[in-house]
Amino acid sequence: MQHITVTVDGTEYQSEVEPRTLLVHWLREGLGKVGTVVGCDTSNCGACTILVDGQSVKSCSMLAVQADGCEITTIQGLSTGDDWHPVQTAFKECHGLQCGYCTPGMVMSTVDLLTENPNPTEEEIRDGIHGNLCRCTGYHNIVKSVKYAADLMGGSK
């Protein structure tokens, strides 16, 4: 077992993990952070996307032990009290989801994209979130949500 210290959504956790434990499994089963979901076994779908030290990462493609000393934000760490993150608000306003399974990953990828590019074009949005799959194929409203979120965060809405 390996001892790890990881800050998740603002709280520091200490844990003993088996080296083979995937980060997403530790988040869900170790900490109960079940907002982050597993959608595939191939690194394609992006449903498990979280931020590690501020950058988007597929948490199925990283070992929990590798997160030792890192700062992690999951979908459950985005809101401030009762106030949603603007990206969450945008996905609600634009109906950027159908079944909702991909949504945690879509939202986290959007947060990551807008941090680097606060005012993306539609092409940049589609390229920026192409590591996330929506099997309902609801991409049009997802793209609208990202644009709406950019406007919200830039203060034009």
């Binding site: 690194s43 493609s61 390229d127 192409h130």
Partner: protein, 284 residues
């Protein structure tokens, strides 16, 4: 799925990593960014008894100016490479190809050295290294050695890096002022290249003075399109580029698979080479 059990070692220096590999024998794997190894572990396509995590080795991170070359630590992420002014200025082709690797999440974790050492024939960066004449510094129990790209890529998923060795860095000769373009043909956003063409050219007036062209997925490893490179010298029109690109499939041995037959890949190599070179040269 959950990977099979393994022992985990996290060295903080290259020497410690080599020692860990020597101690583990042939049944160890180096974990760089993990974007190729993690799916292999998860699907239990591989079950190493020891995983040596090199992500905390400072020497293997970062990009430095070495005079006539830029040296990229093997553990430098794709994301850092695409954002590096040094890379963009002196190895624009590497930046262009790296920008097409997988997606943002994977570029945040995956490393250039990992991709080179994994040597997937559909990988976007090996043909860049081969075309540009990069060299690789490898550390092992008997010290360090430097291997040119022409000897580094050996076969499918096989490089000159031995089981008790670690790739430390990649050195790319400066191509300051050269035009560059990576033309990648795939069916969906995340898919590997069915064929890719990496082209970089030095212009003199309106014509091509020097050209370097590498092919992705046209054989068991990257291919340097030498005949194309030679035929491009002096080209100043689209017709001349297209004529030179007609040599692109010479000396290649592409696979047939569910995405494309080998003769279609040869056709793609010719078409995509013309496009890549034209864009790199700014000729239409």
């Amino acid at each position: 799925m959950i990977p099979a059990k393994f022992d985990y070692v996290r060295p903080s220096t290259v020497d410690e990593a080599v020692a860990a590999l020597v101690a583990a024998g042939e049944d160890a794997k180096v974990l760089g960014g993990g974007q190729s190894l993690m799916p292999v572990l998860r699907l239990r396509m591989g079950e190493p008894s020891v995983v040596v995590d090199t992500t905390r080795i400072d020497e293997m991170k970062g990009i430095t100016d070495a005079g006539d070359a830029i040296v990229i630590g093997a553990g430098t992420t794709h994301d850092a490479v695409t954002k590096s002014d040094l890379v963009r200025q002196h190895a624009a082709l590497l930046a262009a190809a790296t920008d097409t690797v997988a997606d943002r999440q994977i570029r945040h974790r995956g490393t250039v050295g990992g991709a080179m050492a994994h040597a997937d024939p559909a990988g976007d960066q090996p043909p860049v290294a081969l075309a540009m004449g990069a060299s690789f510094t490898i550390a092992g129990p008997s010290g360090r050695r430097t291997v040119p790209a022409s000897e580094f890529f050996v076969d499918y998923f096989t490089t000159a890096v031995g089981p008790d060795e670690v790739l430390v860095s990649v050195s790319v000769p400066k191509h300051t002022g050269w035009g560059a373009h990576y033309e990648k043909f795939n069916r969906t956003a995340q898919a590997w290249a069915i064929v890719g063409v990496a082209a970089t050219v030095r212009m003199d007036g309106g014509s091509i003075a020097e050209a370097e062209v590498g092919l992705t997925n046209m054989g068991p490893g990257p291919v340097k399109a030498t005949a194309v490179e030679q035929a491009l010298v002096g080209a100043s029109t689209m017709a001349a580029i297209t004529a030179a690109a007609s040599h692109a499939a010479e000396g290649t041995s592409p696979n047939s698979d569910i995405h494309a037959e080998s003769d279609y890949r040869e056709h793609l190599a010719r078409v995509l080479t013309a496009r890549a070179v034209a864009k790199a040269a700014g000729i239409s």
